[in-house]
Symmetry: C2
Subunit: 293 residues, 2 copies
């Protein structure tokens, strides 16, 4: 599927306008759809899906059961699982891993107390967790990227020919920090470079695509500013520190991994809702785990 | 070599007591030693060195030249290189990569402006950069770990039988944060868990050993608190968030990669100095690149 920019913004607006306040009072699971059928329906919108190689597998639960409610989130944390249970939703679509590593392999921590308790919570409540990472990034436009741009009010700058870059009217790094705090709900973040530097050419790389990708974009695009989810501290942040010391106009804003991609999963709830009538789809932000001190 | 705890502390104290204030006025490089000879001398203290497989290679420069001064640091940043040049030191021993990736491979960014300018700065000034990562972690005790423990006043809790764990008189997470700020020079950090939680069994993992190692220690040791350098935000920080939500007594302090290992490279300068008489060895902290906003 090719989602147009207008359709993307419409879905985002629908999310804002609709109300999920009376979820617990609503009759859930009236559709008769199984979780597998919902998955099949979603995958129709992903070019080339299903993929042979992907981390987007079922992490737990029986997909043959009838769906009673759907939750989208960044991380299926214990808190998000408990909220899903209280909403009587049995299907969590999470962008990131459930068991603390990229492939969700558990053989190396099978005796771990936390893993056991989390699995018990999931199994006891018949929750299915499905990762939706490779698939959402394969949509065109990448719905995570588009979610971030739309949240920032920058969707009009999206360039399908070079999605990683946008060109904006001159703005300082400090102003972008304030915008990101206001629009993405971030309280604290880290930057490298200069808060007073002006920016017009901005690279947007949500999540953690790795230093090679981030620095590859630096080499090719020489952006005034890069917005990213997270860095390894021996890679992109050191590159930008050196670039800045060498007199180049380069800065980096590290939004935090969750905050940088959450708008994509929020968008997904609004996009999915009209396709599964009778089933409530709700986005529960998992937010960040950090206390900044 | 096996450095005793007492010797380790002595070296650390020596560093504090000695003065490098008149470096520029001092005649450097009076030893006649080449950089290669200094390296050979250092490697005599590392069990099993030289290693066949290691990232601790020469990153730039001619090791056959006479050493004029030695700088130890975490990152050979552009600023650290400039300070070394101003000290007329031609040998930088850095714990972390110089060219923004673990193996310091540069084929993938050979046309990059930042890489070119940094290499030009190094070459023009005949600076040798040597990474000292695998080697320092192979010393017994691991001098990075011991550096951190000594800085925190916790060297007396070091347990050679289980170096990753210490047992301390009851202390809260908040008090450990305050201690780390005071002793390691950290202004801001992130924690996961509960600032008011008490701790007795603390895991210390400087740097970025990866989620498998960090979570492996969680599984095995169930520490009240883990101090680490950095995390991937889909690994250990999510594990601790869940552990905490499940009612377990687990917290995590993320010191920052540089701050968590800098004491090891500071220790190294004091340890090396008496072995290279006539050559000044100075530690230049590269600190962190981040502005917290």
């Amino acid at each position: 599927m090719n989602i147009s920019r207008r359709e993307f913004v419409s879905a985002s607006l629908a999310l804002g306008a609709s109300s999920f306040l009376n979820l617990q009072a609503s009759p859930l699971g009236q559709s008769g759809l199984t979780i597998q059928q919902v998955m099949d329906l979603i995958l129709k919108s992903v070019p080339g899906a299903p993929f042979q190689q992907t981390v987007d597998t079922i992490k737990t639960g029986d997909v043959g059961q009838r769906v009673t409610g759907i939750v989208t989130t960044m991380f299926a944390t214990v808190d998000v699982i408990r909220k899903a249970i209280s909403l009587k939703a049995n299907f969590i679509i999470a962008h990131e891993p459930t068991f603390y590593n990229h492939t969700d392999s558990t053989d190396w921590i099978e005796n771990d107390a936390v893993l056991k308790m989390k699995k018990e919570l999931l199994n006891k409540n018949n929750i299915v967790v499905w990762r939706f990472h490779d698939y959402i990034h394969s949509m065109r436009p990448d719905s995570v990227l588009m979610g971030v741009l739309t949240s920032l009010g920058w969707e009009k700058y999206y360039d399908a020919g070079n999605p990683v870059m946008i060109k904006v009217p001159s703005i300082t790094v400090r102003e972008v920090v304030a915008l990101a705090k206001a629009k993405l709900g971030i309280k604290s973040m880290r930057i490298v470079g200069d808060l007073s530097q002006s920016c017009e050419r901005i690279a947007i790389l949500p999540g953690a695509p790795g230093g090679r990708r981030q620095i590859g974009v630096q080499q090719q695009e020489k952006p005034d500013l890069m917005l990213c989810g997270e860095v390894a501290e021996w890679e992109t942040s050191e590159y930008i520190r050196d670039a800045h010391a060498l007199g180049l106009k380069r800065s980096l804003i590290i939004l935090g991994h969750s905050f940088s991609e959450e708008p994509g999963m929020k968008w997904m709830a609004a996009w999915l809702q009209p396709q599964v009538q009778g089933v409530t789809v709700k986005h529960i932000p998992s937010s960040e785990p950090f206390t900044w001190v």
